[in-house]
């Protein structure tokens, strides 16, 4: 059973916690040993947030170290850039092509970097960076909150779990009345790859 190290990064409030819960539960269903480490509290108020997911035959520390992540899922592109040092050589980056300006940019003191996706591709290898406008897809599906499920759908293609396991885990992790739209978002992400 191969170990997979992952980090999920984004802006507090974007739904990274639900994502890690879905991945963790799917891993459990596939009989992996799994640990997930989350951030709660102050950073959840619009700050930069990171969640760690580690799975394999045995996991000690719940944290992923720099240059150890097989996969990074970034809910926002500046956050992808901020945490890119965690990606190991040859690792994959799934990045939501969305821009959320941090306060120093909002106030005009600093500049939001240009062409982030291209820079990331240059750094990590063109084929290793999967960029998607998940917000646009979510809007088309009629619910901006399902951005995370689009990204999970893409992730599912990179992981050794069956699609049924993913859907089961999603079903158990989201409120029943939102299952359908979440499933649709997952399917769109899954179909993109």
């Amino acid at each position: 059973m191969k170990n997979v190290n992952m980090i999920i990064v984004g802006v507090g409030g974007q739904g990274t916690l639900l994502t890690s819960k879905i991945i963790g539960n799917a891993a459990l269903k596939e009989s992996y040993h799994v640990k997930v480490s989350e951030v709660h509290g102050m950073s959840q108020r619009g700050g930069s947030v990171i969640t760690y997911v580690k799975l394999g035959s045995s996991v000690d520390s719940p944290l992923v170290e720099k240059n150890e992540a097989d996969i990074i899922i970034a809910f926002e592109k500046l956050e992808a850039l901020r945490w890119i040092e965690y990606l190991k050589k040859g690792g994959s980056l799934v990045v939501n092509d969305q821009q959320i300006n941090p306060m120093p940019v909002i106030t005009g003191r600093e500049k939001y970097p240009d062409n982030i996706i291209e820079k990331l591709r240059h750094m990590c290898g063109y084929e290793k960076v999967i960029a998607v406008d998940a917000l646009k897809i979510a809007k088309e599906l009629g619910n901006t909150r399902v951005v995370n499920l689009v990204l999970v759908g893409i992730l599912a293609r990179l992981m050794p779990f069956s699609k049924e396991i993913w859907l089961e885990s999603i079903k158990e992790s989201v409120p029943t009345k939102y299952y359908d739209v979440n499933k649709k978002a997952f399917e769109v992400g899954f179909g993109l790859m």
Binding site: V11, G12, G13, S20, K21, G24, N25, A27, L28, H33, V34, K35, V36, S37, E38, V39, H40, G41, M42, S43, Q44, R45, G46, G47, S48, V59, D60, S61, P62, L63, E65, K66, N67, L78, E79, L81, R82, I84, E85, Y86, L87, K89, G91, I100, N101, P102, M103, P104, V105, I106, T107, G108, E110, K111, Y112, P113, K119, M123, L135, T144
Partner: protein, 583 residues
């Protein structure tokens, strides 16, 4: 059944399985989810108490009345609960009593990174420390057994990475624990000098017995590996060490106080180099050194912040990280911000405009200290804003008080602001205190409190009437204002700071994230009307973006609270839908 559980959730499960009947807490990151999850079990009475001291007192009462009880708090909460803690150590328990304390090394969401292990030592109370979610559940159950066997409260200490990490837990059944008989026993439960003197002798005897227990307990275990390196460790530091030192020998402590002295001697004698690996202070290390054993620990590792596997590899094994992807690009920082629509924003904007000295407090609104609002001068602990404003007046005089306000949240005010307010009235202060009443405990993720009108289980409760409360303690000037109405808000603050008596301003608006709070929908800038004066940028709303040549509103973030429209002098901010309709 196996379940992936947060450490805090596993603690709750442990409490359930241990037959706990009463659970109390004041919310505080990283401990909040313990009691939130306990509240989901119908078999357990759970409450949010007004503060940690009350929470512990309720749990002590329940324990003496015969029930297994648990009380949870963050590290700084234990400071508040320290008074009952030190004496419940003397009285001991009837039903088992477990105190959960969650430390926050690295200060992810705290004002200090104190090491709560010293409380165990100072109060003569045993302390356990789990290293993953399974241990969270099992150690809580073990803590109840120890509590009842040794007649003492037991502290179980978590740190953020244990409390907020999920790992796999095997669920068990709830033990059938019935209420113990309640017996009046003043010699044990009335701590006045004559009785307390006798109890202190018992406490010392108990600690001796607990020391013996620690040597025998399966909580503390040796995992033999290569004997070149031996590591004494506990909690999350055990996980980092295990990952960094694959082949070393470990003495893994589940009971961190009292330490198993014989087991440590035995372990130390068998290994060539001995490390103590622990986060924060030299708690274990100094105790091991006192046994006359040579160790390496904080001479190499930091006492500040968290440890990590990478740090251990680097500092103890000399292995630096291999270079991976990296960027030369300057990445702007992303500090936390008040949410769009946050009712606190208008308050801090006004206070900044008025150039007031602002003594602040603990909550989401502490973010008012950051740019561009940048209008908070101090933040020390829960409730401190009020006492500090009063202290400033007594040091610098009435004139200074007329340029000073204390700012405190509703839940924080109930927690420990009331006594400060009484002090101002009693000692002839003239401070102006602003209570930010957003109808919820916000920062910790929306917990009810005595002002919100609901219990932890969502049942309706009496609401504290802040106006009447202030009047009852002798404040004659009480004003209730809507912070969205910044002009009115400024007018009221001006009036109240200038009067020669204490006043209370209640800034009343529910948290924008609360269910049921609805705005009229996103706004947008009318570019023809906008003069790019940037006055709207001063409120630090994440939905407003300065594009250099123009200002833009991020329609995904904007809910339409309208605070910016009240600032705009050119009527240039309008409903996003309006333009579409014209098209």
């Amino acid at each position: 059944m196996k379940k992936l559980m947060l450490g805090n959730e596993a603690v709750a499960r442990g409490a359930y399985e241990a037959g706990v009947m009463v659970a109390t807490a004041y919310p505080g990151t990283p401990s909040t989810e313990i009691t939130e999850n306990i509240a989901k079990y119908d078999d357990i009475y759970a409450e949010w108490s007004p503060n940690e001291k009350v929470a512990l007192e309720v749990a002590i009462g329940a324990s003496i009345a015969g029930a297994r009880s648990i009380c949870s708090m963050k590290h700084v909460g234990l400071n508040v609960a320290a008074d009952p803690l030190f004496t419940v150590s003397y009285t001991g328990v009837n039903g088992g009593l477990v105190i959960m304390v969650a430390d926050d090394p690295g200060m992810h969401s705290s004002q200090n990174e104190q090491d709560s292990r010293f409380y165990a030592m100072a109060a003569n109370v045993p302390m356990l420390e789990p290293a993953d979610s399974t241990e969270c559940k099992e150690l809580v159950k073990e803590a109840f057994r120890i509590s009842e066997e040794f007649d003492c409260p037991v502290i179980v200490r978590l740190t953020t990475r244990i409390a907020h990490s999920r790992s796999i837990v095997e669920l068990g059944e709830r033990e059938d624990i019935s209420l113990r008989e309640y017996r009046k026993d003043p010699g044990k439960y009335v701590m006045m000098p004559a009785m307390a003197r006798a109890r202190h002798v018992e406490v010392e005897k108990r600690m001796k017995r607990l020391g013996d227990f620690s040597n025998q307990a399966t909580l503390n275990r040796i995992e033999w590996g290569n004997r070149d390196i031996g590591i004494i460790t506990s909690g999350i530091a055990y996980q980092y060490s295990r990952e960094a030192f694959k082949d070393a020998s470990f003495l893994k402590l589940g009971m961190v106080y009292p330490i198993p002295e014989d087991l440590i001697r035995e372990f130390a004698a068998e290994v060539e180099t001995l490390y103590v690996i622990e986060e924060l202070a030299l708690f274990l290390e100094n105790q091991v050194k006192q046994l006359g054993i040579k160790v390496t620990g904080k001479d190499v590792l930091p006492v500040v912040g968290e440890l990590s596997t990478g740090m251990l590899k680097e500092k103890l094994l000399g292995q630096g990280p291999e270079p991976g992807c990296s960027t030369e690009e300057k990445v702007p920082v992303r500090p936390p911000v008040m949410c769009p629509g946050c009712p606190h924003r208008g308050v801090f904007y006004v206070l900044k405009q008025m150039k007031l000295t602002v003594t602040g407090d603990i909550g989401c609104y502490t973010l008012g200290a950051l740019p561009p609002l940048g209008s908070m001068d101090t933040c020390v602990c829960m409730g401190a804003s009020i006492g500090m404003a009063h202290g400033m007046e007594k040091a610098r005089g009435r004139e200074f008080a007329s340029k000073t306000v204390a700012v405190i949240g509703d839940s924080t005010f109930i927690h420990s602001g009331i006594t400060g307010l009484i002090d101002i009235v009693y000692n002839n202060g003239t401070s102006t205190v602003i209570i930010l009443d957003n109808s919820i405990t916000g920062m910790t993720g929306h917990q009810h409190n005595p002002v919100s009108g609901y219990t932890i289980k969502g049942e309706p409760a009496k609401q504290v009437d802040l106006v009447k409360l202030a009047q009852a303690i002798g404040i004659e000037r009480v004003r209730v204002v809507d912070p969205y109405d910044i002009n009115e808000f400024e007018k009221v603050v001006k009036e109240e700071v200038s009067v020669d008596e204490p006043s209370l301003i209640i800034s009343k608006r529910p948290c924008a994230l609360l269910k049921g709070v609805k705005f009229e929908g996103p706004l947008r800038i009318n570019k023809e009307k906008c003069k790019i004066c940037r006055i709207c940028m001063r409120i630090g709303c994440p939905a407003l973006v300065d594009k250099g040549s123009h200002i833009e509103i991020n329609e995904t973030l904007c809910g339409g609270c309208g605070l910016c429209t009240r600032l705009c002098r050119f009527d240039a901010i309008e409903k996003a839908g309006d333009l579409n309709e014209k098209c």
